[in-house]
Symmetry: C2
Subunit: 322 residues, 2 copies
């Protein structure tokens, strides 16, 4: 099966009445600053606070009764875990989430609050794939991978369909990139609607595996990258997302940790939005000059799940003028 | 002249294309928690980050050419200062803002960045009325009072008109109260549309002058109240706003400083919105049980201008479970 625009359209139908149609926000100050019209698609206002609800609902609602009865297994320490847990509750599917034992307590408790069983493992001694394999064998679960899964990719692409419905033609689209589910889905959607729209994936400089993979056309890996953008700490693209990104994405760019924090502060102070570091990558690329915007530019804000200590750190790390 | 619903309708026409029609946000989690349908009218996304733009634009656009030529004078250390400064720039009116010399440097610089001249005074040795009187005499300025002014009140009421346009019938409306401009304008608008809508003003417990004024029907004053909700530090209601509140408002309630901070955290973590403490008063009243919500409840979020240290303080002052 080859993924197409029609898969994303079909996902959109499934998500009707389930996912929020998130707002599109703009800033006159920003438009004047960068000389283009910037439209933020605000998935921080999505259910569970991130775009991940879209993919999880699309994938899990498509399961057969038999697959649903087995229960869903996934691996995630972040927003995908909460999304799978919430969708499990909505669709009455048992969910099990494998999480490293150093995951933030708040993420674990949020996932459990939505009703998932959380299994932890020591990432220093065990690979997460080994844990998944063991569970998959033992429990005969239905695995819903956080990004390397066609229904997940199709679901994530629906944010871009909504953005286009709301503002029409797009000249450029900036999308954060971790495992590439959001980026590949968004690119398929954007190119399906506006073939000339320039789609650019944005990564932290210290987690530039996808950027190097894109340019070398050979899958690159960065294990445990030291970035504040925890949603992009995935070591590499997936078997599905890598070729989709090579096919549909026009370019990849990186941004520094300082640029990410500056973008989170801009969104906080100027736009009054709580955005997690990964969600601020697109704006970071604009503010730092890593991407030169042209015409009507969409930016996907992937999520808003940031804890107090991280926001405190960012608000208090304002650069000193020299 | 008696203020009526028609004044607010007229203000709405003047604001078209100038003020943002701000979004209305909801939270399923909150609705389940309080057992009612809560609709937040998000003036934190208004121009200058607060509802104050509405009143300032309405009042200043109505000035005669002669009044405009004199330039506008106002007194404010907060959001009204920035609003007057921005409207001055938009309408090409010279603006002068009188500000206590202990006002936050960020507010002063933001006001100056919009093009206003800022005059400071020592609030320990001089009353702000005395400074205004002196300037008014010397410079023959046009005074635009931050709340005790019919065109300001009418402008502030337009947020409620938009809320009603967006969601229809309202059973209850919760509005923060400082000098009472927003509260009286909102009440006139709500009662004009839905006479049975219960309008409740919310104040910090330590700044309860309006609540006591409302119940005793005699104007009460609290000088320099020690509340984190800086938008409500006004010592008392005004000559215009007090009788309007007695006429149109159904009740006044107070909330503790802890309840205000809890509401700011809820808006941050659950709704991903940056809201200043004054803007969180309505939600604080719900979460603390100070107001029992019934049916469809509107809450005016007055603004989102919060500095880093204050947000840091609030995020880090999570109550300890006993």
């Amino acid at each position: 099966m080859t993924m197409t625009y029609q898969h994303i359209e079909a996902a959109r139908q499934r998500l009707k009445g389930q996912a929020h149609v998130t707002p599109v926000m703009t800033s006159r100050t920003l438009n004047q600053l960068v000389g283009a019209d910037i439209f933020f698609k605000c998935e921080n206002y999505q259910r569970v606070g991130a775009f991940k609800f879209r993919g999880a609902f699309n994938a899990m609602s498509k399961l057969t009764d038999e697959q649903k009865a087995k229960g869903v297994l996934t691996l995630s320490s972040g927003n995908h875990a909460q999304a799978v847990a919430l969708v499990g509750r909505l669709l009455d599917i048992r969910t099990t989430v494998i999480m490293p034992d150093n995951a933030p307590a708040t993420k674990r408790s949020a996932t459990e609050a939505y009703g998932a069983r959380v299994i932890d493992y020591d990432p220093d001694t065990t690979s997460r794939e080994a844990v998944v394999d063991r569970f998959d064998r033992e429990g005969n679960y239905t695995l819903v991978h956080p990004f390397d899964h066609e229904d997940i990719i199709a679901g994530q692409g629906t944010a871009t369909l909504e953005l286009a419905e709301s503002i029409g033609h797009l000249d450029m689209l900036l999308v954060p990139c971790g495992g590439g589910g959001l980026l590949s889905g968004s690119a398929i959607a954007a190119k399906g609607l506006y073939p000339n729209c320039r789609v650019i994936g944005i990564e932290p400089e210290v987690a530039d595996d996808a950027t190097r993979s894109f340019h070398t056309k050979i899958l690159q890996t960065v294990p445990n990258p030291p970035t504040i953008a925890d949603g992009t700490r995935t070591p590499s693209l997936g078997n599905l997302t890598f070729p989709l990104i090579l096919k549909y994405v026009d370019d990849m760019r990186t941004v520094t940790e300082e640029a990410i924090m500056e973008a989170v502060r801009f969104l906080f102070y100027r736009m009054k939005m709580v955005v997690e570091p990964s969600g601020a990558l697109g704006l970071a690329a604009l503010l730092s000059g890593s991407v030169k915007p042209v015409g009507k530019v969409g930016i996907i804000i992937s999520g808003g799940n940031i804890d107090g200590p991280t926001m405190t750190l960012i608000l208090n790390s304002e650069p000193v003028d020299h």
